[in-house]
């Protein structure tokens, strides 16, 4: 029947609108849900969400070792050429040559924080940091080298 379908249509429309309005009324009356942070005032007590993406960093352990094998997966995954991996060849004690990174150059000014490099990395060598105060007076300061000077690859990471 056309008429019954029509009334059902009107009813379901009103019902779904009411559901939406109940949600916004909940937010309107529950101010603890507000996620805006009063940034300059609460700089010391800032509470950033877990998945906040500020910049790409490479964690090092106490022996100045990282997990990067220099496979360039991150460089290939990056959509706008933010990462450049410069590799070199280390010579092992037993005389074998092994590929390793010389520098992992990261252009913060080109990065859109898309997280594709972190997902592409097979050995979890890079991750997103929660820093966000990135402004500098000179553009060249935004080009960063992620591996520490003199660092080498962790044992057991291939």
């Amino acid at each position: 029947m056309g008429l019954i379908k029509y009334i059902k249509n009107v009813w379901s429309a009103l019902r779904s609108l009411a559901i939406g309005m109940r949600r916004t009324l909940y937010y309107f009356t529950h101010h603890k849900e507000i996620i805006t942070q009063q940034y300059p005032e609460n700089r010391d007590t800032l509470n950033l969400p877990e998945r906040f993406k500020g910049e790409v960093v490479m964690p090092h352990n106490e022996q100045n070792e990282h997990r990067c094998t220099g496979c360039t997966a991150c460089e290939l995954a990056c959509p706008n050429g933010t990462i450049k991996v410069i590799t070199k060849f280390d010579v092992n004690p037993d005389g074998k040559k092994k590929k390793a990174i010389d520098k992992l150059v990261y252009h913060l000014e080109l990065c859109t924080m898309c997280n594709l490099c972190i997902e592409a990395c097979p050995s979890d060598a890079i991750k997103m940091a929660q820093t966000f105060e990135h402004s500098v007076y000179d553009r060249s300061q935004l080009t960063k080298i992620l591996n520490n000077p003199g660092s080498k690859i962790m044992d057991g990471v291939e």
Binding site: V10, L17, G20, T24, Y27, F28, I34, I35, Q38
Partner: protein
């Protein structure tokens, strides 16, 4: 107890004891005009800050919080900014119409203030066709929008204005028919009569289900008529930049902006008058003790309380629902609202003839 009607009477008596009747009338008109303009200014400031706070809290944000205590002076600062900005006129525009359009929007909003009863016995002009006057004038708003859109000589403006034309012309019908439902109950178009008929209960309670349906359709229709989201196709920031006021800047833009908010206020005031009893306190039939307690709250507080409650509901709509497409908009009016209001009007008429209402 000093009330608005008391103050008005005092001024009238003082003036007529000192001056002749013509001069008294002239001065009273000037006072009324100044009062309406200052009400406009206050309404603009209050409604803008209210809208921004409501929208912020509904979207889990904080909203303006830097200017003044808790950000309450933000709209004043915005007004100052708009006042000192240059009112640009594009070189390709029809200069006369372009500059005239915001003033027409404003004048119509001012004229609509006339039949609204702000408090007990406090009304600018209690003409006997009050509701007809309001519905006739509010449809003239489309002329100012079309004028602005056409004279801007800009495709976005023209498209916004054309959409607005289609929208206002169609939603005028269901707004009128919904208002007519209450007219059928009261048997009078005069605003003071309509309010007096609600002394033993507001029409939304007395009028059974038809009044409730009429209330819902009226609110939907006036939301569309005042070009507010989810029916803001005339402006549609994301599609048409700003629709008919794309080319406007400075104070000319502010006039359009103010006219929109004042129109919302007027639409809500009319809805409050028709369905929620205007300044009439909350009365229940023959509970005389309860009614007497309610009478202690001043009538102006009742009126503004109801009106601002309805404004809040319209803001609630805006920050909850997504914008409709133009075909969905016209579908909603011609396939749903109009048939529903027509059947509802028939039902109301039957109820009134059979004497089933209170």
């Amino acid at each position: 107890m000093p009330s608005f009607s008391h103050i008005a009477l005092l001024i009238h008596e003082w003036l007529s004891s000192h001056l002749n009747s013509t001069l008294t009338l002239t001065i009273e008109m000037v006072i009324a005009g100044v009062a309406v303009i200052s009400l406009f200014a206050v309404l603009g400031l209050v409604l803008v800050i209210m809208e921004r706070k409501v929208s912020a809290w509904m979207q889990i944000r904080l909203g303006p919080n830097r200017v003044g205590p808790r950000g309450m002076l933000q709209s004043l600062a915005d007004t100052l900014k708009l006042l000192v900005k240059e009112g640009l006129t594009p070189s390709g525009a029809d200069k006369f119409l372009f500059n005239l359009a915001p003033f027409i929007a404003m004048i119509i909003a001012m004229l609509l203030m006339a039949p609204i009863a702000f408090a007990k016995d406090f009304q600018l002009w209690d003409l006997n066709i009050g509701i007809l006057y309001v519905s006739a004038l509010s449809s003239v708003t489309v002329i100012s929008i079309l004028m602005a859109g056409w004279s801007s000589n800009n495709k976005f403006s023209l498209m916004g204005a054309m959409r607005s034309g289609a929208q206002i012309v169609s939603y005028e019908l269901s707004a009128g028919l919904s208002a007519l439902t209450i007219i059928v109950f009261t048997g009078s178009l005069q605003v003071s009569d309509i309010i007096r008929s609600q002394a033993n209960g507001w029409w939304i309670f007395k009028g059974h289900i038809p009044a409730l349906i009429a209330f819902i359709t009226f609110i939907i229709a006036v939301t569309a008529e005042t070009n507010r989201a989810p029916f803001d196709l005339a402006e549609a920031e994301s599609e048409l930049t700003a629709g008919f006021h794309t080319e406007y800047s400075g104070m000319k833009f502010a006039l359009f902006f103010l006219a929109e908010y004042v129109n919302v206020f007027i639409a809500c005031a009319i809805a409050a008058t028709l369905f929620l009893g205007g300044w009439m306190p909350f009365h229940v039939g023959t509970w005389h003790a309860f009614n007497h307690v309610m009478d202690y709250i001043p009538s102006s507080i009742w009126f503004f309380g109801k009106t601002f409650f309805l404004i809040f509901i319209i803001m609630w709509f805006r920050w909850t629902f997504p914008r409709l497409r133009i075909d969905q908009l016209l579908n909603l009016e011609w396939k749903y609202l109009l048939p529903i209001t027509m059947v509802n009007l028939l039902l109301t008429t039957a109820i009134v003839i059979l004497g089933w209402h209170f």
